[in-house]
Symmetry: D2
């Protein structure tokens, strides 16, 4: 199986290279990049010395699947041509996440460049859309924040135990911002610092979260407040999700705690990459690995459900989930190439 | 004015030394510590080479005021003796924060060692209790999280624009945990890691937050969910506070944003250490300084108020506010010794 | 092939678990620990949820090889018993690194607990002792600093181009200190801080470095100054090595640079885990991987050789090299289990 | 006393604002900047809310002294005009550090823009040139690395106890690179990473170090190898300096250690900002303060002097020393505005 990566020099593109290097069935044969075109990948990123690829402007090989780590807009445009030729695609950009071209325009302030492919595309949150992904031509790989938030809330929404009124307070390492050259991302500015952002107008991952929660709740309205924060670390997302318990949905007293645990464990039973923890998880448990660790707890003083959800934003939040989806699209074991333990400490 | 510090070797005790070294009216003349007793302070903490103090087991000088950085329980016990002798006190421990000895027992699992002093003590959140502090014999210096959270919510609660149903999602640098020798606080464990804690049973700063919000809201019930997180940085707290707007409390449309800003600016008018920001603040703006930067914003999609509040946990969240309170107790300019700009970057 | 790990709860023990989990030929069947004995490994270290091992006090299975992550002294004592039974061993402690029991006593201030095994043991710097390791019963896995320093200097010493008078200025992430509960290793103390240590009396990795350089130089005297530093990061060692060029050993002018590069490339030709870089390496290039990246450069103003050498202290500096040695001892491909790319960023 | 700052938006310019805000005799009345011109300083750097300055393109007030945080080249050019008008200057750029216009051209690859001022300028390493600084019109404020290295070596060179053959292995926080927008300075690249740089051709602080050591040694030749490293922290420099002891310069045996300590203590006696430590210092001891902590030790195995020297690169390594020099130039107490204790932890 031959694979191409569009814009390999993005952090998520490089993470694909790392993961696929150990994949027994897939071989990366063509990688593109703009500023690095013509150079060996290992020259630009010396940790890849053992990878003999050269960066080109366009995909130069016949490939079975392309991953795109291009910016949104550019991504769908480039993928449209490849999809026309029958190449399958997993798009790590935002272009195939929203089911609705108008919502796309509202949030991204541009017309969708390939609206004809939206309908056939599948939202690639693997645990929720496994079957559709298996037969999809193009998968819109979820954003990092939505992956953590939706997996954290899915069992509760699906079981109807919470009101459609949630708050997602998410904290992310700074690699999610990629290699953007802006004072705000310099080491001296991020280190020993903490900030909330996207408070005015909202973050463009919000509609994605809402879309998936609504779908799980049979289409009801969902009030979602989503506030992302930048934390001084490179990798990792921890989303703390809050929602009022629906009155009467759970039994009374301390039993609630166990009831919620059971409900979560049962929802994710057999999932290779979601773990329901029995004590509060840390992002480090997921460092470099494809797992999502979810910890639900009932705040009995306020009858609120609190869920902590941790991922590595570049793995389950990007490249790892993309490979998980690729595996499904080609009938492989879903966990192929993704079984590595997390790095600790 | 002579000042003593109980348990000076705690981070908050050392921060008192740093701040008071530049205070023109107060002189630290006696500092205690257990394991360091008999040693020069500068031997144990070499950044204090210029400070000629020796650590002793007990306060050895006649002092006008003591700060206590002792653990709770031990603190009130030791302070009781000093208060009996007419020494004023600012207690950085939790012993004089809760107005109610029973609540104290519930949360701290011990009987209050000096309940007779509770009634006369004042909760030292300076901006809310300035007048009582000025005439107090003993001040219970607020916890770091409550300082950030209550200052962030006070204008809204006081004006009655939010429902008594708030979520405080707080993120803190690890110096708040002091010098506790536990694997969880080792560099290799905190670095590149993020975790929520105190999810089962609640954090002991919760009753303090609730107590103050209830007082601001004329005694109504208040539902408060408080989830603290440890972030890989040394200093700084950012509290993100969420509450539903009370229907009709604000006008409609985009005017809400400005209305809330105005309300906050007016509430904190003239405050030397609270700044109402017009863009999302960062903890680094407060590094080493006594300021609290508050940023209120309305999430119009959900009619929720979101407030971001930043402090340096060791300054406004501990030693700085303690000095601010001391200044009031002795009729000095409230800002004396506290005017230093933050360290940046 | 069955493998045991003594003191699995040390960082190097846990790193062995991580690496061996992907090793196709070796299975970890027994792991010991003192404080964690009786508990599931995954309970104590939740990132290991998928590993079904329980910590025991002693090795409970018949194993072909044990790794020891015990402290020195305790390690040789425990290993002696297992070696007597014909189990092979790779000792990550310092007990089988020095060829000389007296030097051991001088540096470690205790008598060697199993001197009878010293002579048959092999110093496990794989690239220098490959053949002896292949037939060894017990391998003394090198210290992290010596691994970086000796690989950085070996080609130059071996070719006789430098004087036997070197300075190794080494900088290490703090995971090298393990989980030692000491104020010096708390996050708040290590973060935004930098220090040199072991300046009085010398670091116990010094005799190891000297021993290997002397051996490479046919036994001449070697003056070595070794100063280690703690850097605020978790993993990674960068050793900067300095030595005067032997007069006349290299040609004149700019050709020296190339001559040295060629000499290094030729020395390490075919090595799976040593890379001779053509631009200054960074520790991040080695994060989580088993490689050592070496960069030699001539300071023409002073006729000094400067070599920068980078490793991940827990992989090539501990567990990775231990597995590399195990592979050799069992006739496996030396790189088995060790081919993962480094984590970036 | 009125003071202007050229290019205030540089980290060293902002640090000047922080330090001068507490200076009782100097008032910053005019600050320049290019991209921020026309904006309030507090808008661009919100931690400066209490500072009412507006950034302008040129100095708009009559000032007694200007600090320049402009890039080299631009700095001398701009200062020449102001010096002509009788304004005194402390130049934080490199333009007035080298005594020799040719050396300047060799290292900076441009002609010096105001060579006529070189002769009258003074190298502003306060401890070595105090008297000349007091009467200077223009002071070339030292580079951060030379400040640490030269103070670390000055007593030894001056006493003639070392050979003129030194190695300076220096490690710096990344704020020394300013706000340069380059992938290499992004948080994700610097964090958990360590690198040496300027290995080919040498760092432009080298001639400054050599110039000062030669001057201290009565003009003999000096071989200096200087290798700087970037460490994942914001502030702080630790320079580890190595030099062979001159045979016979010190007595034999353990007395050497004390002899060197005494020599250092005597050299720096009475210095307000240099501390000779009796145990290895850490950069954190200097965080935010103007001190340089020096720790000399004899490596008796190799008869080498090792000196560890720590500063805050933005204070003693830039803005703090600049203010120290300004104080001297105006006959003020040298320590005015610089007595703040370091931030800890």
């Amino acid at each position: 199986m031959k694979v191409g990566i569009l814009n390999v020099t993005a952090y998520s593109g490089l993470e694909l290279v790392r993961i696929l290097a150990r994949h027994p069935e897939a071989e990366v044969t063509s990688v593109t990049g703009r500023s690095a075109a013509g150079r060996k990948l290992a020259e630009v990123f010396p940790h890849l010395t053992s990878i003999p690829l050269t960066v080109t402007e366009e995909i130069t090989e016949t490939v079975d699947l392309v991953f795109s780590a291009l910016p949104h807009g550019a991504s769908a445009q480039k993928l449209a041509g490849l999809l026309d030729q029958g190449v399958k695609a997993v798009d790590i950009s935002a272009d195939f996440r929203l089911r609705d071209a108008e919502a796309y325009r509202d949030w991204y302030k541009v017309d969708h460049p390939a609206p004809e492919y939206i309908e056939d595309s599948v939202y690639g949150l693997t645990e929720l859309h496994r079957d559709e992904i298996a037969s999809a031509e193009v998968v819109g790989n979820p954003g990092c924040y939505p992956t953590a938030a939706v997996l954290g809330l899915a069992p509760a929404v699906s079981a109807g135990i919470i009101e459609p009124d949630v708050i997602v307070d998410a904290k992310s390492g700074v690699s999610g911002a990629g290699q953007k050259l802006d004072r705000a991302y310099l080491y001296s500015e991020v280190n020993e610092n903490l900030r909330a952002y996207a408070l005015d107008g909202g973050h463009y991952h919000l509609p994605e979260i809402t879309q998936e929660l609504v779908a799980l709740d049979d289409g009801s309205e969902f009030k979602v407040t989503f506030v992302p924060h930048v934390v001084p670390m490179t990798r990792g997302i921890l989303a703390t999700c809050y929602a009022p318990l629906r009155p009467g949905a759970l039994g009374a007293g301390v039993g609630k705690q166990r009831e919620v645990q059971d409900l979560y464990k049962s929802f994710f039973e057999g999932e290779p990459f979601v773990e329901v923890a029995t004590s509060p998880p840390t992002t480090k448990q997921t460092l470099g690995g494809n797992s999502c660790v979810v910890y639900p707890v009932v705040d009995e003083r306020t009858d609120r459900l609190v869920v902590v959800s941790c991922i590595d934003n570049l793995v389950k939040g990007a490249a790892g989930q993309a490979v998980q989806n690729m595996n499904l699209m080609f009938g492989l074991d879903e966990a192929e190439g993704l079984r590595e333990l997390s790095l600790y400490p």
